[in-house]
Symmetry: C2
Subunit: 199 residues, 2 copies
DNA sequence: CCTTGAAAACTTACGATGTAAATTTATTAC
DNA sequence: GTAATAAATTTACATCGTAAGTTTTCAAGG
């Protein structure tokens, strides 16, 4: 009887709305991302998005998941463009900083630690883990190549924490522009030296 | 003529309001920090705070500055309780992690990068720089003692970024309790080794 | 074709928020 | 006591997310 939305209709709408949200974030800041503005961007009424998303939180989770997937792609490309654990580590770290600096709004949204109930969105969790996996995966390779020794898991977290911390300090305005990249490079060399086997 | 507020009256009110805001943050989360709730906590009408603060943004800036000053005190105490650059570095790092873990809401608010126009609040900037100074200051001493070589400013920021990243990972629930401290200790030893002079 | 009925979209409405404007209260100098 | 004015309150408004109610749209049965 009635017209019914196909799966691709739904997916299309969700995607267009996410794109509009990212555009608003980047061009007009977080305060411009309102339900009414989003609807206006798509030329629909303010309540229409509620047919496609649970609520605004659900929309933000989808945008974050999108961001994490783009982020993961950038990291994976960097990893695949380098040879050897040492070069891969550097390339991935540089790509990490580049993504954060070029997509500050996306990065801030992705890692906003005031986001409640992130665990309720499995797609978001999966996208985050995909990025994290690339960030930390090459540590084991570095150990296999004899570049490092220690607990791979902890060293991976260490490296990830360091870059993340540097980026966040820069995005918070507590570092000069380009500061995060410089700090990463310092880490890159110092950690490699400090974690070298034997001593 | 009319009653006029003394400077201490103003300072008192501002302080009591900041305390109420911190309490609301800690006990009921960010969404509970509304002008009406704040006013109710002080037993005044919702518009009264506007006699003492520009707007809500100004209140949050004051709360953040408060947090940074308490943070700076904790770091300075740690620095003054240890002897020798190596021990000071460890003590300050431990104090950093302790403050963040014991004051998660304050810490999150202080470093919330979604806060716009932070540069408009010189008191906040000064408080942040005060903390930064302690975080990075002992690096020069470490160099004077022959423990490290390199750019002191950059190494200080490096250390800060690493601890900050680890803390944020823990506050975001991505590390087990105590994980940030473990990661910091890993950094502490690895960086000392990696930054040692000559090689 | 037309009717029909449910899905989808829209319109309206509500409570909450930050805060501007208008109003009332309180205090002090004369 | 009274006038003047700072401080506080009350009222009001635009905007937010979204619940509820209404209208539109389109595929199937006659």
């Amino acid at each position: 009887m009635p017209r019914v939305l196909s799966d691709t209709d739904v997916a299309d709408f969700r995607e267009r709305l996410c794109e509009a949200a990212e555009r608003l974030f980047a061009e007009r800041g977080p305060d411009a991302v309102t339900m009414r503005q989003l609807a206006a961007e798509l030329g629909v009424s303010p309540m229409t998005p509620y047919r496609y998303f649970e609520d605004k939180e659900d929309i933000l989770a989808a945008v974050r998941a999108n961001g994490f997937n783009r982020f993961a792609v950038a990291l994976e490309q960097a990893r695949d463009s380098a040879v050897g654990a040492r070069a891969i580590g550097t390339a991935v770290g540089e790509a990490y900083v580049t993504f954060a600096v070029e997509n500050p709004h996306a990065y801030k949204l992705m890692f906003d630690f005031n986001q409640p109930h992130a665990e309720k969105y499995p797609e978001l969790v999966a996208a985050g883990q995909r990025a994290q996996k690339t960030m930390t995966g090459y540590i084991k390779d570095a150990m296999a190549e004899g570049l490092m020794s220690g607990d791979a898991e902890q060293i991976g977290l260490m490296n990830w924490a360091a870059i993340h911390g540097a980026v966040i300090l820069e995005l918070a305005g507590m570092l000069p522009p380009g500061g995060a990249r410089m700090i990463f490079r310092g880490f890159d060399t110092a950690l490699i030296r400090g974690l070298r086997p034997q001593d």
